[in-house]
């Protein structure tokens, strides 16, 4: 089986399933006697990317990078401030109630916390039945139970789990149930918001394998969000690195690790602890703390923590520029092994 990364453009079907342009989600900060808005938390501050059908786009970043808000914004669980989210011809950001209902069926989400993403009072069968009932996929109970059993088998659970309560399941099993609930409305696009960060390594392995199998069988498209770089590298075809609400680098999974173009990506990749004590790793330490998206530094938002920052970086914000299939938001080309700046990109 060829891994998705090696598919050629045509095989993947270059028809883009989801295109996001200039997407922004700002949360107002109210203050003063009459609760006037005095500022904004710019959680997602202008993000553009596209996801092809059947592809897995990884989104990685630390806390405060806005990756979770991005996920909720695309599904319109949070009201976006501006920008477009095109999905099968509908701009989800500004869609009407009727359009939204149609889109809701096609896009589903799996959450991070297995213990709180299922209603504790509902048995598994009624959770699945409700998902199907909302979209009228099933008319009566017997048909629903049959379909529910199929779904459970598909996610590696069995019939005796049907009439149990969520608190009787382990973390891994609950994530499988969430997946079953999402598949109940046979979606085309799944947003996975840190699906395995609560799970142990062995359970995580089985859930990630399940995700890969489902992607091959049902041709699903994933947006895989996590802070764990090893997991995102394993699962994705392309990876986007987010910092303070913007994408600073977007490239295929191997080149982003072995040949990063943005200083932050390099720092991030070198900070990953590797399961191999002999691996030689450049001791590079990113000083300072993760900044808060309330007061975003002017110009390039990474310049306060960047060793290569120049005056130019402080003034204007670099665009996500293309260098042989590799997008990076930085003015300079840097050879990180030697630490020298090689060239400067032309200013658009």
């Amino acid at each position: 089986m060829k891994s998705p990364a090696t598919y050629t453009e045509s095989e993947l079907g270059n028809e883009e399933l989801l295109t996001v342009k200039g997407f922004k989600v700002w949360f107002p900060i109210k203050s003063g006697v009459f609760q006037r808005t005095i500022g904004h938390v710019k959680a997602v501050d202008g993000v553009s990317f596209a996801v092809k059908k059947g592809e897995t786009l990884g989104v990685v970043g630390e806390s405060g990078s806005g990756k979770t808000t991005l996920a909720r914004g695309i599904l319109r669980l949070v009201k976006p401030t501006s920008g477009e989210v095109l999905f099968e011809g509908i701009n989800v950001a500004k869609a009407s109630r009727k359009e939204i209902k149609l889109v809701r069926r096609k896009m589903q989400i799996i959450f991070q916390d297995p213990y709180a993403s299922l209603d504790p009072r509902q048995t598994i069968s009624s959770t699945l039945y409700e998902a199907m009932k909302i979209h009228g996929i099933v008319q009566n109970k017997p048909e629903a139970t049959k379909k529910a059993l199929e779904l459970l088998e598909k996610v590696g659970l069995s019939q005796e789990h049907l009439y149990r309560f969520p608190h009787e399941f382990s973390g891994g099993q609950r994530q499988r149930i969430s997946v079953a609930r999402a598949l109940a409305v046979n979606p085309a696009f799944l947003v996975l918001d840190e699906p395995t960060s609560f799970l142990d390594v062995s359970v995580q392995a089985s859930v990630l394998n399940l995700m890969k199998d489902l992607q091959k069988d049902l041709g699903l498209t994933y947006l895989f969000i996590t802070h764990n770089l090893a997991v995102v590298h394993h699962m994705s075809d392309r990876i986007a690195v987010m910092y303070l609400g913007k994408i600073v680098e977007l490239a295929d999974k191997d080149s982003i690790y072995h040949d990063p173009k943005h200083p932050y990506t390099f720092q991030l990749m070198s900070a990953i602890p590797l399961p191999d004590p002999e691996a030689k790793k450049k001791e590079v330490l990113l000083e300072g703390d993760v900044p808060s998206p309330v007061d975003i530094p002017p110009g390039c938002r990474f310049h306060p923590r960047c060793q290569y920052a120049t005056e130019k970086c402080k003034k204007a914000e670099p665009k996500l520029a293309k260098i042989n299939g590799h997008l990076a938001a930085c003015y300079y080309e840097i050879d990180f092994s030697t630490g020298k700046v090689i060239g400067e990109k032309a200013d658009e």
Binding site: F27, I29, K30, S31, G32, V33, F34, Q35, V41, A43, S63, G64, T68, S197, H227, S292, P293, V294
Partner: protein, 352 residues
Amino acid sequence: MCQFRIQGSSLKIYEYIIRRLILLFFVLFAVSALVFYLVRGFPTGIAPWAPYITSRMTPEQIDRVIKAHGFDRPIWEQFFYWLRDIFNGDWGLTGTWAQGRPANEVFFDHFPYTVELSIFGTILTVAIGVPLGIISAIKNNKFPDHLSRIIALAGYSTPSYWFGFMLQLVFFYYFSLWGLPYLPSSGAPDFIVPKITGLPIFDGLLAGNLGYVWDEFLHLILPAFSLSFISLGFLARIVRASLLEVLRQDYITMARSKGLSERVVIYRHALKNALIPAVTLTGIFFAALLGGAMITEFVFSWPGVGQQALRAVFQGDSNFLLVYSFVFAIVIVSANLVVDVLYAFIDPRIKY
């Protein structure tokens, strides 16, 4: 990996107070409008203009008096007249039960007694309730916890007036029957010291008349205890629940892992966090008592404003009731504001 939480609205303390004052004004206006509409809109016993007319007045004089005070105007106009009167001191006259004296005079004669009773009641509640709560939290599910739980629940379920009478029966009637030193069962000694703060005990102390102070104190014990017994149980439950909650927190495990003694862990680390909800509750208790513990004042015939309000209720004297409800609302709402502001000073995390 901790998820970024969006900052709440960050206001400075004075901005918050202004905001609360505006809300307070709105609530007060609404309460007084509602009470005015209810009391003045529907005849209750004595007519509002009754205290202004004497029996010898002729019908025309009576009409003139009614028109002068605007009692015949539509209800809303009367409301604004009433508000105007209130703010320039004319709270109207009381009914025959208080010899028709002006309402504000009656009110302020008796208000200090209610304040005194509320202070003592609250002190007793806190002095017994808080330790009770702490003990039952530390000795959770052992005997002291069950005992304090029963005392707390018993107090919480006791009819206030009944308990008052029981105290009188035992500490006055039977004690005197058995020749034991007994407490006075009702009433309060009349005010013989120069009035400075208006509060009998404090004025007595200021005037150095210890005999009067002791006498006043003796009269206070039973009503104050009757008031506090009912609320100390509730306070004990809150303190127990919040202390148990705090003792489950991680920073308590951290304190224990530092090798601190259990006593230090509880009194330096746990208590400060646990008592925050108790402060709120004490504030609300005090305000409720200030509103005149009508029933207890009635049972012990304690000359507080609650007793006067009760007599007004019996006589259906709308004028005094209006004034009383207005002041009661002011007291409750401002107490809530004071408690909330106090909250910010105790808990550094809350920046209004």
